[in-house]
Amino acid sequence: MNLMFATAAMSTPSLVLRYAAAFFFVVVAIALAYALFKAAKTLERLDKVLADVDENGIPLMNKAGETLDGVNANLGNVDEITKDVAGITDKIDKMANSVEGAVSKPARKAASFSAGVQSAVSSFMRRDKEPEAAGDAASAGAGYYAPPADGWAAAARDAGEAAAEGTSAATGAAGDAAAGAADAVKDENGGATDAVKDAAASAADAADDAAATAADVAGDAAESATDAAKDVSGAVGDALGGTTGVTSSGGV
């Protein structure tokens, strides 16, 4: 009895292990069977899909090839159209440049010509008004005092020449008187001192008279020249004032 108990006690662990291993193998077998069942189903569906692909994929690929051929053909047409459009654009650009050159240049020339004509006419009219206004102002300033035919400068020159002629005439008269006195002295052979004194006195008087006459003539000439210069300067001043007034009022 004790021996049987001891044998049973010694064989209990191996028995448990045997049962556990059997259970494990059963569980593994069930899992594998489930997995294989699922794999078989999947492979079956995959087989069906591949069969469908074999049945429908090749025609689709043929159609896709045909479509691509058509697309390539259309792209070729689009390329040609693009080239044509580019050529047309170039032609339009050239034509626009030609039209611009043919239109803008004459228009520019015409505008320049009109501006030049306008400027020339305004310049001519402005220069036409200036001397007229100056002439009116000068005539208004001078009144009815008509200028000499040769001008004021010629009148002053004539007055100066007259003064010079008067001076030379007085000098000549004094020289003649002195020469006459010397002749008288020579004729009297130096004897008549009174005659010489009288002759010298008369010569001196003649010289004084001639000098006075020359001075008067020169003074008159200078005075007339001064008056003439004053008149000229007054007339010029009036003319300039009138011109300035006309210019400022005209706004030219």
Partner: protein
């Protein structure tokens, strides 16, 4: 219209112009008609010389203005046709 009629018409027009000119000048300067008629050739000659001088100056001014205008238009057209710059 014959030649005589043309001459008569021209003479009438010239006489009217002369009378108008003498009347205006008399009203402006107070000179007599005889003086005005006597000075008419010299006035005409002076007017011709002045007109030539003024025409020469006006022509130069017109040329200058035309060149200036053309340069301005060319500059405007060049600025208008230039491509726009960014920034």
């Amino acid at each position: 219209m014959g030649l005589s009629n043309k001459l008569v018409a021209t003479g009438i027009a010239a006489g009217a112009a002369l009378v108008y000119y003498a009347h205006r000048r008399r009203a402006r300067t107070g000179e007599s008609y005889v003086s005005i008629l006597r000075q008419l050739p010299s006035d005409a000659q002076r007017w011709v010389v002045d007109a030539q001088r003024k025409a020469t100056l006006a022509l130069e001014d017109g040329k200058s203005a035309a060149r200036q205008r053309e340069d301005e238009l060319t500059r405007r057209l060049t600025a208008g046709s230039a491509p726009a710059t960014e920034g």
